[in-house]
Amino acid sequence: MTDIAPTGTPAKPDETARAPRRKMRLHIAVFLAPAVLIYTLFSIYPLIESLRLSLQSSVPGGEADYVGLANYAKLFFDPLWADQFLNALKNNVVMFCTIMVVQNPIGLVLAALLSLPKVRFTGTYRTLLFMPTLLSVVIIGFVWQLILSPLWGVTDGFLRAIGLAHAYKPWLGLEGSALFTLSMISVWQYVGVPMMLIYAALLSIPDELIDAARIDGLRGWAIFWKVKLPLILPTLGLVGILTYIGNFTVSFDLIYAVQGALAGPNFSTDVMGTFLFRTFFGQQTQLGDPHMGATVASVLFFIILAGVSVYLLAVQRRLQRYEM
């Protein structure tokens, strides 16, 4: 795994000169050790303990057997498993695309507006816009079900008031629209994250660069497109990869809270997270299967790792990083 990691090796010519070979360079170890230690002990070790279960199969009542990659073969080729896996993966891809197209542009626009000089109340706006991100999924599930419910008259009442009564559908309950509706709730919940990241990046652009652009005759949107946007491209890349990772991990909580572990209707909102959870921990009368669960988790791991590698190798390397 070592070779696919270009992190921290931006081959700049002055690099070696800058960090002289000092005695042992103890400080590097001091900086890294606490994080690496806690992280290894309480995250990596337990995860390895679990993931290695994917190479075993459970024998009822007995010790587990080493079965090599048989569980993986089952996941990919046994239609019972493969169908569920592909369905979950497909839903994740759809959700990722929806969120990328909707959430991140909204986040960018909000951040761009907030970072403009002379806009008043930005602090208030920022806090209010971030509120949904702070809520517990229990509340989010409750309130959106309440809002979208056909029974309590919030959405259909609103649509009737503006003369669109016929446009109302029980979106969360229909196979065709449930996933999209959940994606939108997710956008609503998390738009604050890209907004904050991009906002922080925009604010750290030196005023001198903007002033220089003004002197060159650039105005308004041109400054944004030609000066600011290129400068924050690394942040946009970061937002993209975080969206990708979050889509596979964080999305679980919302779907589990709103649609349950069976991700209804008819598995139309089943994503890798719910599939993994159901398999690993079980659900109602279905017993958990840690071995297949670990197999699903390992595959999920490689899917995310692939995305991160693409990011690290292709995107991050090509994006020129401006020192500010």
């Binding site: 029974l151 259909d156 029980p170 309950g173 069976l262 209707p265 008819n266 279905q286």
Partner: protein
């Protein structure tokens, strides 16, 4: 670095505050998914036990139902689970017993108070070992708003034809949602839908046995019939029922906006507290007058002993008490709708609960069709029941398709159905 100081102080406070404490008495901890019952345990059941068993303290420590199985397994594996484990019926607890995490209690004093049917959910397949004391069963049926029935001018239906006639009248009246069930959470479609009404058609326990020993198939007309009935419910459901959650259904009924609610006896307490009209109940209608009715009388809750418990004697004393007629009476009457499985006589006080339990005399009792053995493989039949029943109610699948999917699922792993 003010924050460093603060965090350091907080960390120190944490370390000091949680050094743990010791008890002179033996304290038993109960693991359960019934957080609904916290007050009943704290105020009625535990005091009654502690009164007759000085020196033993009991703590009821429930986990939210959706997290219970996963959390309990983790605690058992990690060695931090409570002394007493409230048991899910059938395979969930059987697996724990096979792993050596539940104690064999076959010879426990008081077990003679339970018949074989009561114990079946917590007994090994060969019938030799029992690992949980049966606590309660729940009975399925339909609840209805008595005022709504009076207003519309309908009587309690006994047959299928009467049932739909009543629904038609309520629908024509227009004030009430005739049939209050949604498919958003999926489990109601199976539990209050198929499991509730289908046993009448497939002949209760007899049909269930046939499916287990392979002489009948889910695609047989008598099993498909349950789905066909569900499909007939569609015109009577509320607007947007596809997004109607279980909570929504409860609220719709208690707010007096629905007439008939397919449900189970577990709902009694909540409905008493929240509705301001009189609630009645009737068993699933039969195909034609004179047919024997069959009810789903599902053995749902038991309690066993953690094999790793350090307080085995006290835990055993508690289980013996749970097996006694005293517990049967306290439990059934503190939680109307959860009926003790004890064969010792006990009196049911709540009138609505009386109505439900009276069906045991007139109808045949049956447990959920997927509960025993048939949900042991992958795909899990109970899960499939949820999804397929919801699909049928949603109109996205025909009854025949739904039955075929479940049959195919069974055939893929269950030797006697291959």
């Amino acid at each position: 670095m003010k924050s460093t100081l603060f965090s350091g102080a907080a960390l120190a406070a944490v370390l000091v505050a949680f050094a743990g404490s010791a008890h002179a008495d033996t304290t038993l901890k109960i693991e359960s998914w019934r957080s609904d019952d916290q007050a009943v345990w704290d105020e009625k059941i535990i005091p009654a036990f502690e009164k007759s068993h000085p020196g033993i303290k009991v703590v009821f420590a429930p986990t939210a139902p959706t997290e219970y199985n996963a959390a309990l397994n983790a605690r058992l594996d990690g060695g931090t689970a409570g002394d007493l484990i409230v048991c899910r019926p059938f395979d969930g607890s059987l697996a724990l017993f096979k792993k050596g995490q539940l104690t064999d209690i076959t010879g426990l004093k008081g077990m003679e108070n339970f018949g074989d049917v009561a114990k079946v959910a917590w007994t090994t397949d060969d019938g030799k070992q029992t690992f949980c004391v049966p606590m309660a069963a729940v009975i399925h049926g339909f609840m209805y708003n008595k005022e709504a029935f009076k207003e519309v001018g309908v009587e309690v239906p006994k047959t299928e034809a009467e049932f739909y006639a009543v629904l038609d009248k309520i629908k024509a009246n227009g004030k009430y949602v005739p049939l209050d069930i949604g498919t958003a959470d999926q489990w109601e479609a199976a539990t209050m839908g198929y499991y509730n009404i289908a046993p009448v058609y497939y002949g209760g326990e007899k049909g269930r046995d046939e499916l287990i020993n392979g002489t009948a198939k889910m695609t047989d007309p008598k099993f498909v019939k349950g789905f066909e009935e569900l499909a007939k419910w569609i015109p009577y459901l509320g607007n947007g029922y596809q997004a109607q959650s279980y909570s929504d259904s409860q609220n719709l009924f208690t707010l007096g906006r629905a007439a008939i609610y397919p449900t189970g006896s577990w709902e009694i307490t909540g409905f008493k507290a929240n509705s301001d009209f009189e609630v009645g109940a009737f068993p699933p209608p039969v195909a034609k007058a004179g047919d024997k009715c069959v009810i789903s009388d599902h053995t749902d809750i038991g309690i066993g002993m953690n094999a790793a418990s350090k307080n085995k004697d006290a835990a055993k004393a508690f289980l013996e008490w749970v097996a006694s007629p005293e517990f049967a009476s306290i439990y059934t009457n503190s939680l109307p709708g959860f009926f003790s499985l004890s064969s010792a006589p006990f009196k049911v006080e709540d009138p609505l609960a009386q109505e439900f339990i009276s069906w045991r005399k007139t109808c045949e009792s049956s447990i959920r069709v997927s509960a025993q053995i048939l949900s042991r493989g992958e795909p899990n039949m109970d899960n499939q029941m949820w999804v397929e029943s919801a699909n049928v109610l949603n109109g996205t699948e025909t009854p025949a398709e739904a039955a075929k999917k479940i049959q195919d699922g069974l055939a893929s792993w269950y030797p006697l159905q291959k």
